[in-house]
């Protein structure tokens, strides 16, 4: 018996899932503006949204909460899409940037740059993206080493090994450099708190590149789901498809890590939900990841502000607490879905 979350339904109309998802996303954004950072209650925040509230409330909503919501929107889209792309290219439902060491590669690169003297405010985006790219290549190499029996768990094991190695190296770096450690300590757990719009502006160019490349590659990528030979037979070039996808994933994950630190499990949970709603085709999955990613991140962030008031739980901690059981449930099923 395959549990419901591992069962992929037949093709359904994309719009019938996309419209409710977008509405839900709007609601989530709204709630994240009403609740959370700063001592402003939901009612006051609501008034401030319509220019009726106090100056304090207006400041909190527009300067603290709005950027945070936008960052959540961006991080959700990046990680959701990156997860869907990775799963499609690895043909493995467990491929996820956080599990496979891509985020860890990115984090390590940023830590290294900080120790070498860079400041957290400059250059982190491209450094994080290069780190993500290196992590991607390591893991894809590991995936190709798995040989004939395409056991999805093996890839995750390789990723876990790579991940823990990189996390250990990152910790080692931080032990040697107190300044970097202070700058990075909060960031390294993954959080969208206190991020400004400047960080978002810095990632816009790579987002545009990733979006165009994803649009270009989505059709050939869909054919890769039928196997390498069939894809070649249809006139596609699997090697080029993989390369483009890996660069996209690195751009997206690197940017998300640069802005919010490594936030685990989003790239796993979001494509799973999207597939469950619209079926196996990567093109529809990708469209649906656009609203579902931010829905998950923004709500998780809102929740992370509420559960430990007046303190906050870092977003990365919350997504791990929620995501890890989901992963266990998926793996526990007798049969993983074939992508």
């Amino acid at each position: 018996m395959i549990p419901w979350f591992n069962r992929i339904p037949a093709q359904r109309s994309l719009l019938s899932a996309l419209v409710p998802a977008v509405l839900l996303l709007a609601l989530s954004c709204f709630l994240s503006l009403l609740y959370g950072a700063g001592a402003v209650g939901p009612l006051e925040a609501f008034k401030a949204l319509f220019n009726q509230g106090s100056a304090d409330a207006y400041f909190v909503v527009s300067e603290l909460r709005l950027p945070r919501t936008l960052v959540g929107l961006f991080v959700g889209i990046s990680l959701g899409v990156a997860g869907a792309l990775m799963q499609a290219v690895a043909r493995n439902p467990l491929a996820e940037p956080g599990l496979l060491g891509v985020s860890a590669g990115s984090t390590f690169a940023v830590a290294l740059a900080l120790v070498l003297g860079a400041s957290a405010a400059t250059l982190t985006v491209s450094v994080a993206q290069i780190g993500a790219l290196v992590g991607c290549f390591c893991v894809i190499t590991a995936a190709r080493m798995q040989g004939q029996n395409r056991d999805p768990i093996r890839l995750v094991l390789a990723g876990a090994a790579l991940s823990s190695l990189l996390v250990a190296l990152t910790s080692l770096l931080l032990l040697y450099d107190e300044r970097a450690a202070d700058e990075i300590r909060f960031w390294v757990t993954g959080s969208v708190a206190g991020r400004g719009l400047e960080q978002l502006y810095a990632v816009i160019p790579s987002m545009i590149i990733a979006a165009l490349a994803t649009l270009y590659v989505s059709r050939p990528l869909a054919s890769l789901a039928l196997g390498e030979k069939v894809a070649i037979g249809l006139g596609h070039n699997p090697g080029r498809i993989r390369l483009i996808v890996i660069v996209c994933v690195a751009l997206l994950v690197g940017a998300a890590v640069a802005v919010a630190g490594p936030v685990a499990f989003i790239g796993l949970v979001v494509p799973f939900a999207a597939r469950a709603l619209v079926g196996p085709d990567i093109r529809r999955t990708l469209w649906l990841c656009l609203p579902i990613g931010p829905i998950v991140v923004i709500n998780a962030d809102t929740l992370s502000r509420l559960v430990a008031q007046p303190a906050e739980m870092p977003l990365g901690v919350l997504t791990a607490i929620v995501g890890a059981p989901v992963l266990l449930a998926i793996v526990r099923a007798r049969r993983l879905p074939t992508l």
């Binding site: 093709q11 869909a222 789901a225 039928l226 030979k229 069939v230 249809l234 006139g235 196996p280 992508l339």
Partner: protein, 279 residues
């Protein structure tokens, strides 16, 4: 500009299906360091069904993969209408040559119609993703493979034979004059094998040139016009089934003794009284 580009394409490859030819010149194929096929010459007879037969590991699948440009040759060349297949853009090749590999796997939840749509990829571009002739090609493929009633079913709920028909329908939708199939009936029971072979015959009558790797010798004789018998990466003999099928050939290919009789209904050779040759 567009018309010039179209002209260029037409001069590169022929448009008349019966003028489409696929052949190999001095072809060598390697798996890693192992030489599977060395300096092989072969041509597929146009408009016919060719069966490639031979024992396990004789290089028949490798040859098929080489002919379909999936396997890069280590020497020699594969010619599609006289052009080296690796020099023609892969997408253009895909409008002339369709390939159905062995052991296909599709994602969970994909429907028959969705699968068949993939066959249209070579005819589409980023800008033009769906056109009228795509619709017609899909309708034709569904009808030819007798899948109209199953088109909305999920692939993983179908029987083996139906599933294989759906995959063949995908290559029909590709609208290519050439079709290469790697063991299209392996893992199918007798009824489903016949189902698939009859579909292949039907496609041949519509003018396609077909080559298939087949394990079962009697089926190869029954459904192919031309047999290519391989052993150890070499072609031992080729020709119409009645001419090439001899006791000596069967012994050489498989190391078995048998008698050959003629099927009273179809005239094709049948193997009886099969025994292993004692060493």
């Amino acid at each position: 500009m567009a018309s010039i580009m179209q002209k260029n394409k037409q001069t590169l490859l022929q448009t008349d299906p019966l003028d489409t030819s696929l052949s190999a010149n001095n072809l060598s194929l390697k798996h890693g360091k192992a030489h599977i096929i060395d300096n092989l010459d072969v041509a597929l007879p146009a408009g016919k069904v060719t069966a490639i037969v031979g024992p396990n590991g004789c290089g028949k699948s490798t040859l098929l993969n080489g002919l379909s440009r999936v396997h890069m040759p280590s020497g020699g060349e594969v010619l599609l209408n006289g052009n080296n297949i690796h020099r023609v853009p892969s997408k253009e090749v895909a409008r002339y040559l369709a390939l159905l590999p062995q052991d296909t796997s599709a994602p969970d939840g994909i429907s028959v119609a969705e699968l068949i749509r993939f066959g249209r990829h070579p005819h589409q571009s980023l800008m033009q993703q769906w056109a009228m002739d795509d619709q017609q090609a899909i309708a034709y493929a569904l009808a030819a493979a007798d899948l109209n009633e199953l088109k909305d079913r999920q692939l993983d709920t179908l029987s083996g034979g139906q599933r294989q028909r759906a995959w063949i329908a995908m290559s029909i939708a590709q609208e290519t004059p050439l079709l290469l199939l790697d063991e299209p009936t392996s893992a199918l029971d007798l009824g489903h094998q016949i189902e698939v072979f009859e579909l292949i015959r039907h496609l041949s009558q519509e003018g396609k040139t077909i080559a298939m790797v087949v394990h079962d010798l009697p089926s190869a004789c029954r459904y192919a016009d031309h047999i290519i018998a391989m052993k150890g990466g070499k072609i031992i003999t080729q020709g119409p089934p009645k001419d090439v099928m001899t006791k000596a050939l069967v012994r050489e290919l498989y190391g078995i003794e048998c008698d050959l009789i003629e099927d009273p209904m179809t005239g094709s050779p049948i193997l009886i009284n099969i025994k292993r040759v004692k060493a």
